[in-house]
Amino acid sequence: MINLSEKKEHLIEVKNVQRIFSMGEVEVQALKGANLTIDEGEFVVILGPSGSGKTTLLNQIGGIDTPTSGEVIVDGKNITDYSSDELTEHRRDTIGWIFQFFNLIPSLTASENVGLALEMAEDMEDWEIRAQEALALVGLGDKGDRFPAQLSGGEQQRVAIARALVKKPKIIVADEPTGNLDWKTGLEVAQVMKNLNQEEGITFAVVSHDISISEMANQVLYMHDGLIYDKPQSAESAPSAKKVVTE
């Protein structure tokens, strides 16, 4: 029986997260107490200038990095103090990653690049069929045998998306997915992601410079100097918008 009085669980919760990097003698505070919640099925776009902390924030959610302080809860699990092995498991079971530079392995075909995600997860059953299905979902069903060098930039990024979704993760995190593409191709790639969000119910957390991608989002957040806001911040002025605070 459902307890109606129970507080609704967010899929992703970032609570007052700070991340400080030591660069030799210099300390850089990339996140200064960031707060964020993302619900299941959302398509969240985080915009912000270079150095605002977007990628660092995504790394905390995607299990690539852990915060210096604060809490990160993903799919009900507090991953803040996860060990390296636990983070690996988190990435394998819950997250799909998309990178700006595609990072496809040139010696593998599109289908094999997608299948690599399954091999890493040690889940190789029917991998060729599953990789083909994932490629079909991104509109590359007929290009599985092509090597990255035989694909355009947009197609390469779509292969990277297929690689992220082939494991059927709950969340896909994308770091500047259109940053390396021209405007038109970028839009096509963004549309593919949106379709996956709507048709497959996958939650997307996307950081980008690209404002056009925000049109597809059901939540747009803005990062400035290590903090998350619900409105854009100008570089000169002091933050005026409301900081996003976890409920």
């Binding site: 990435r91 990072n103 010696s107 593998l108």
Partner: protein
Amino acid sequence: MTILNRKLLRELKTSKLRSSLIIIALGLSIAIYAGFMLGYKNIEASFDLSEEETNYEDFRVSFSNYTAIANITSPEITTVIDNIAEYDYRIWQPSALKVEGEATEFTAYIHGVPGDRRPIVNDVYMQKGEYFTSDNATEVLVETHFAKAQDLDLGDTIEIFSGEGFVEYTIVGIIWSPEYTYVTNRLTMLPDWENLGAVWMPIKQTQALFGFGDVFNELLVKVENKELIDTTINSIIDEYQTENTIVSATKKEDEPDTYMKNADVGFMDDMSIIFGLMVLIIAIFVLYDTISKVVESQRNYIGVMSSLGGNKWKIVFHYVKFGTLLGVISSVVGVIFALLLSYEFMHAYTDILQLPITDTDYGGALPYFGIAIGVGLLITVVVSFLSALKAASITPREAMSSAYVQQVYTKKPLPERVLTKVPGFKSLAIRIPIRGIMRNKRRSLLTFITYGLSMLIVFGSLGFVNSFMHQMDYYYNDIEKQDISVYLVNPINQTELNEGLLELDQVIKAETFVNGYVQISVPETNKTRSTEVYGYDNPTLRSFNMKDDSVIEPGNYIYLGSILAKFLDVEKGSEVEIGDTTFEVGGILQELMDQTAFLHYETAQELLGLEGLSTGALVEVSDVNLAKVEILESGLPVAFLIVKSEIYDAFMTMMQAVIGIIFIVIFVGLLVVALFSFNTVVMDVMSREMEFVNFRTLGAKKRTLYKVIGAQGLIIAFLGSLAAIPIGYLGVRWFNTIVEEMMYIQTKINLSSFLITIATGLVASFIGIWAAVRHVRKLELVDVTRNRVNT
């Protein structure tokens, strides 16, 4: 097949050059070790079979004066001495011979053997013709090396010097004998393939030729139980030693030819390990360097694999497999090359030595193949693991960037701060390589050492040739100053010999000596050896390079060649025995073929029972060829002459073959240096591709690329060469100690060898620099900036 395995195979296929380098280096190391070992085993087996076929002796007994055959045939020696399985007697007499129609006189070793039957021990292998028809036939058999060198065939005639004149004999057979595999001159202990004529003739003919009665001077013995060989030798010496006949015995392994063979085969054994190891070390570095750089160049792919949830050990294992697969391919290649190498090696060797029978010993060599492959694979796995370990520490964050900057610089390295103060060294083309080298000091140091090691083959080989040539020049100029050594058939009064020689027109100076074979032993040990002793009286035509500047003194002092002293395990002040006389070792000589012992003239005369007599003389002459004829026709009882220049030339001819082999080794060394240099420079540039792409996008010209890449390559080559020199010097010294059992060689390396080594390093480096610049210039900037294509 898993996706990672597909990746592995495709990357191996696309990186043919890199993979080939590893396969060549590792395969070469396996091939050298296993190939030489198999060659060595096959040659040993061929030696054994050839010796078995000719029933080669276990030991040879020499009688300093001729002994009547009746002495050993009645009663039969086997009834007097235990443990003799088979024996035969013969005459061994050094002399001179002339080939039909030619004036040149060659040193001849005459063997008087039974003419009516084949020798029971030390038979000959008939390569051409037939054995003697009778005991009285004026027929001879000629040893194959000499026959080949002098183009002698059946039916040709040769003339043998009898002490009074030359007597003609017809060649009825060309033979091979295990006693002359290397055709070692018993006096000089040096091989002489072209000018030493070993001849067999019926013993009755020999006795008639030299005017002997029914006598012999050598007894060849095969024993029943080899463990009792020393007792058997001692029994023979006790039985046959008389006041006038000194009996000495030489075991098969101490025979000049067997000694040369064992030293040569042992040398081969050492070389297979040394060169195999040397190439293996280089292979280890190439493998380590390559996998490290592959891991480095694939950081962001590793980051992707990690971000996809890949277990870090699974990723490490992927790169270990890369190395292991190369190791397996290298083993296959290595084994094939080892078989080819051993085949070629054995045939080249047996052709030179004219071995009539060849045999193989694959079974005996199997463990060495096992060792080579086992060690090769084990090292491949371990090195691959160590070099791939870095992949475990690569985080998924590396997948975030197209050109993740792993290089963290926080300060300028000291060499840069110093060097950039020098005018002309301020450009970035110098700073960048220095920072690159100093960033990972341990790896750079390893690079220099391995570079040095690869050049060690070149430097070591040149150094050995230098040392050897220096020792030869030293020995034949500063030690042996005579032109001719005269050896007599019978000892004569020393004044008579001296005056007889000085009467000759061509003779400027003559100094007599006395020599003979004795059995030298070390008290309270089982060390014993048949040795030639010489007695000199302060000669001016012969110097002695003695350790501690000792001089030959009268009394019971003996002076031993360093190789002989090492064999007997004695030093200055130790005691040795010859017969019943005890001698104190008065000094150790360091010359060349140091297996001789020296005494003061009078001490030697007394020891050999030759008071007032000489057995030969050292002579200085005006014209060697005229003097040879004059001496042989002088009426003195001359047995044979040793002409210093001929020995030197013979040795140099032999050394030409060795130097030829050494030049092949130098070529292999150059190849290894070039491959290593290529790998180091090219791989380094490939791992820093983005850096060079940036240069090109900034408009860097070809010249600038050459400067940046060249500076790093040249620094590595120069420092590597510097590392090669001290290692090489020690290597040559060590090399010289390996051949110590055969000859004494002092380490002397010419300046040109140092310069050639450095030049080799630089030239090899240029090959790598050229290839690296070519690689950078061929990169498509658009592709690289859009999507890293390096693999």
